[in-house]
Subunit: 220 residues, 2 copies
């Protein structure tokens, strides 16, 4: 029951391993060594082996790793193996864009979209009708909602996050440019696009002075 605590640095590298392994499968590669993978991914072989060994031994000495097996195992670790239901709060441009996005290969399904603007009521995105936020409570109580995606204006983000917490939602994917104030029981993953753009701006201005490659992986 009490699993070992894995550092966030390791967790955030897993999706990238998963992606590269997926591409290897597409190219019908059956096995790969940490050394070969490290060259493709531009990381060290040591790091790959260390990362994986946090979760168990997936390889075989003298052989390397079976690509399909490793891919499946990482998928399980990330919890992609059974579907999770998502609702989107905020049906503006970004909310609608995300509703149209295909997250099924990450194991997520959008089951509801909400907004406060009555002009959007009834409008359908990918076959899902936009509902008014006052229907949120009823909806959450009658459906299994695993994750709420927040694409509302900054000023509405915190009140809605509190409401979601109250309704028992335990994971929020937050696109509002603010830090939410919720209890530690609620997982929050922030996607701050403006901050991402600011770091790009920094690199642009200080080009040539960077220690590391400009190519910044993940959301860092």
């Amino acid at each position: 029951m009490s699993e070992r605590v894995i550092s966030p640095a390791v967790i955030k590298r897993l999706p990238r391993y998963y992606r590269y392994l997926g591409e290897l499968i597409e190219n019908e590669v059956v096995r790969i060594s940490s050394k070969e993978l490290s060259i493709k991914m531009k990381v060290t072989a040591s790091q790959i082996r260390q990362d994986l060994n946090n979760f168990g031994g997936f390889g075989q000495q003298g052989y390397g790793y079976n690509v399909q097996y490793l891919y499946d195992e990482i998928g399980k670790i990330l919890g992609l193996d059974n579907q999770q239901n998502m609702i989107i709060i905020g049906a503006g441009n970004l909310g609608q864009a995300l509703a149209n996005y295909d997250f099924s290969r990450v194991g997520f399904k959008v089951i509801g979209i909400f907004d406060a603007n009555p002009r959007l009521e009834g409008l359908a995105v990918r076959g899902i009708e936009i509902q008014m936020v006052d229907e949120l409570e009823e909806f959450v109580k009658s459906h299994s909602v695993d994750v709420a995606t927040l694409t509302v204006p900054k000023k509405n983000a915190r009140p809605i996050a509190s409401k979601l917490e109250e309704l028992g939602i335990r994971a929020i994917w937050n696109f509002a440019p603010t830090d939410l104030k919720v209890s530690d029981d609620v997982c929050v993953k922030n996607v701050h696009l403006d901050e991402s753009l600011m770091t790009l701006s920094y690199n642009l201005r200080h080009r040539g002075n960077e220690k590391y490659s400009y190519n910044s992986y993940m959301n860092d």
Copy 2:
């Protein structure tokens, strides 16, 4: 000319400082100590002082920091003080959503949107007509383009990135779920939404076993 190299860990915290300082200004706070700010932001005062001192001494002993001054200085460090021009390649849902986003307070202006789909030709987003990708070369040559935002399908991302590099574009904000292959002269900032969602999924599955708070800041 040769500035000191600043670690990426520091750079990625700057936008968050900037945001908190902006909110303090809104609340008419004139001065703040590293200690007070550290409590608000849930980081250590030491870290704040260390981070800032990479760029110079912005505070005053016994007083703390002048909020407006520090805000402006961080803005300059991030390069937000004069406007940069952005084009968006890929006018799908996400591309259009980003075109509608107001990045002016981050110092960016969208001056062009491109797509390969002829059905989108001439359609305007925020007053900017969508152009066909074959007009890209002409446009880049006759305009000053600082950053290209890539919101194209995965399979098109790499060829277009190469094309952009060829045209002399030196910064790419990449939303396609792939790593681009460009020379080190090109700054690439990746926003991999699916990977972000995967790490949220991980936290959701392993809740209660995390060492750190669920509330993951930045894009990490």
